[in-house]
C-alpha cells in the first residue's frame, strides 16, 4: 500500500481527520503522512492502522506542552515488508484540565515504555495502562512535577540551582 492508497483508505474511514502529506528534499524524496485526529476517535484510528498492517512497527511518542493543550504524536512504520515503507505520524491533543488519553498498549504492546515516559515527563496520563510505574525518573522525585511542562508544574528555577540533589534540598524546608 503506498501513500495515496493509505490516505484514501484512512480518509474514507475517518473523514473528520486532518491528513496531509509532506515531502523532503533528499535525493530520493521521502513522503510522510501526518494525521491529526480527535482523542475520542484516536483509539479507533490506531486499531484501524493495526488492521491495515498487522505488522506495523511502533516507533515513538512525541508529546509536547502546547500552551493550553498537551499534544501527543505517534510515529509508526507501516508496510516495511514491501520495500519502501510508509512513515506515518498520527497526532492528537488533550486539554490540560483533563490530560487523559486511552492507552494503545492493547493494540501495540511495545507502546508501554513510551506511555510510561510521557506520563512522568509531561503529566499526560493514559487510561487503562497496565503498568503505570515510573520508568526514568527516580522514585523519590516529587509528585506533581513534570520536567518537560512549560507551566507551573515544570521544573522550578530553585530545583535547577541545587543541581546535585535538586528535589531533596527543595523538599527539606517542609
Amino acid at each position: 500500500m503506498n501513500v495515496e492508497e493509505f490516505v484514501k483508505a484512512f480518509g474514507g474511514r475517518f473523514p473528520e481527520a486532518e491528513v496531509r502529506v509532506s515531502e523532503n528534499k533528499q535525493p530520493h524524496p521521502k513522503r510522510r503522512v501526518w494525521v491529526e485526529i480527535d482523542r475520542e476517535k484516536f483509539h479507533d484510528a490506531m486499531k484501524f492502522i493495526k488492521e491495515l498492517d498487522p505488522k506495523a512497527q511502533f516507533s515513538i511518542i512525541i508529546a509536547r506542552d502546547a500552551g493550553e493543550t498537551l499534544e501527543a504524536k505517534y510515529h509508526m512504520e507501516l508496510f516495511w515488508e514491501e520495500g519502501e515503507s510508509l512513515s506515518l505520524v498520527i497526532g492528537t491533543s488533550v486539554p490540560k484540565e483533563n490530560p487523559k488519553l486511552p492507552t494503545v498498549t492493547d493494540v501495540f504492546p511495545s507502546a508501554l515504555p513510551y506511555e510510561r515516559e510521557v506520563q512522568e515527563f509531561l503529566g499526560l496520563f493514559f487510561d487503562g495502562i497496565p503498568d503505570p510505574r515510573r520508568l526514568f525518573l527516580p522514585d523519590d522525585f516529587p509528585e506533581g512535577v513534570y520536567p518537560l511542562r512549560l507551566d507551573d508544574t515544570g521544573i522550578k528555577p530553585e530545583m535547577v540551582k541545587n543541581a546535585g540533589h535538586p528535589y531533596r534540598i527543595g523538599g527539606a524546608k517542609k
Binding site: S22, N24, K25, Q26, P27, H28, K30, R32, W34, K55, Q57, F58, S59, I60, I62, R64, K73, H75, E77, W80, E81, G83, E84, S85, S87, V89, F108, P109, S110, L112, P113, F121, R134, L135, F136, L137, P138, P147, L148, I155
Partner: protein, 431 residues
Amino acid sequence: MTGKLEYWVKVPVGPIHPALEEPEKFIITIDGERIINVDVKLGYNLRGIEWIAMRRNYIQILYLAERMCGICSFSHNHTYSRAVEEMAGIEVPERAEYIRVIVGELERIHSHLLNLGVVGHAIGYDTVLHLSWLARERVMDILEAMGGNRVNYAVNMIGGVRRDIEEKHVRAITDMIEYYREEVMPKIEEVFLYDPTVEARLRDSGVIPKRIAVEYSAQGPTARGSGVKKDVRYNERLGVYPDLGVKPITPKEFTGIVKGDVFDRMVVRVGEVWQSMELIERAIDQMPEGKIKAVPKDNALLFQLKKAEGEGIGRYEAPRGELIHYVMAEKGRDGPARWKMREPTFPNLFAIARALVGEQVADVPVAIASIDPCLSCTDRVAVVDANTGKKTVLTEKDLLKLSIEKTKDLNPKIRGKPEVVGIGCPRGDVL
C-alpha cells in the same frame, strides 16, 4: 510439609557498568535456574537533554546531540540534521551525502567490532576480544584523522558536513579495508561462523522469535537476527543509500537458517561489517566533486532556521537499529520548540527482557550483550532470597564466571578468566 516448596528469587542485574554507555537495571525473577520474569528499570544516566535543549539554538543542539552516546555519536547528529533539514526544506549537496555514508559506515564497523569482542569476552573467549578491539583501532585512527577526534568527530552540519574527504583519507580507508579483508575478517568469521564451541554456546540462547521481534518493534541487528527484514537505510530510501544498493542483512544469506538467537545476531553483525566495507568502496568510487555545505556560513544558516516553521522527522539506521529524531520549529525562535529522540536500544531492551523469560541465569550476560547495549551491565548482582531476605552479592566477575563455566561444559579447553574489561567498577572490590 508436603508437596513442592515454591519460592521465587529476585536478581537485580545492574545498574552501573562503567565500560559501556548505558547503565540499566534488570530485575530478574527466577524459579530455580529458569527466569520467569524480567523487569527493566532505566534512568540511571538521565541527563535531561531534552530539557537542556529548550535553552539552546539549532547549531548548539548539534553538539549536544553528538554527546548523547559515545559509540553512535555520528548517528545522533546525522539524524538530528536530517530532521532539521526536513523541517526547513534544506537540500544537502550530493558530495555531503556521500561523505555522510562513508563516515556512517566507518562508525558501523567500529561499533560492530566492539560488540563482537564484547560477546567473545562474555563467553570466555578473551582472544576474540583482544583481536577485534585491536582491529578496531585502525578504523578509530581513520575517524580521528578525518574528524580530529576518536569519538565525537563532529562531521555533520545542518545542510551538509563540516569536513571534506581528501585524497590521503581515501588512501587510508582503502588500506584499512584491505587490512580488514585480508587479515581480520577471515579470523572473525572463523570464530563466529564456524567455531563449534561458539556455535554450541550461542545457538538457542536468548532467542527472540520473529513474532516477539515484530510485536515489540525490535530494531537493527536484533530484529534482523530474528529474520525481520527491515533496515531504515533500505525502507526509508535514505540519502544516496539506494544508489549504493543497500539491502537488509539476515542470517539466512550466511547460514541458511534463521533462529533469532544470539548466534544469529552475531552473524548479522559480521555480515554488516562486510556490507559496510562494500558500501564505503562504492561511495568512494561514485562520490562527485562539489561543495559540502548548503549554507556555508553558520550565522546565515541560523538566520534561515529562525524564519522556518513546521516539523520534521529524521530517521537513520544506527549500528544498533532505527534512530529517530523529531524537530518542531517555532517562528522567530532560534531553537526548536520541541526536540525528541528515540534510540534503538530502548525497544530492544524490552524485546530482550521479554525474550529472556524461560532462559537460564548464565545466559543473561551474553543475551544482554548480544543486543549491544551493555555487556552484562553487571558490576554487581545481588541475589535476594524472597523467603528469608538473605542477600548474597555477586560481582560482575562472578556472573562472568558462571557464563564461562557454561562454556567450559561444552569445551573444557577454554581458559577464559573472569576478568573485568576496561577500568572496571571501583566499587566492585569493596563489596
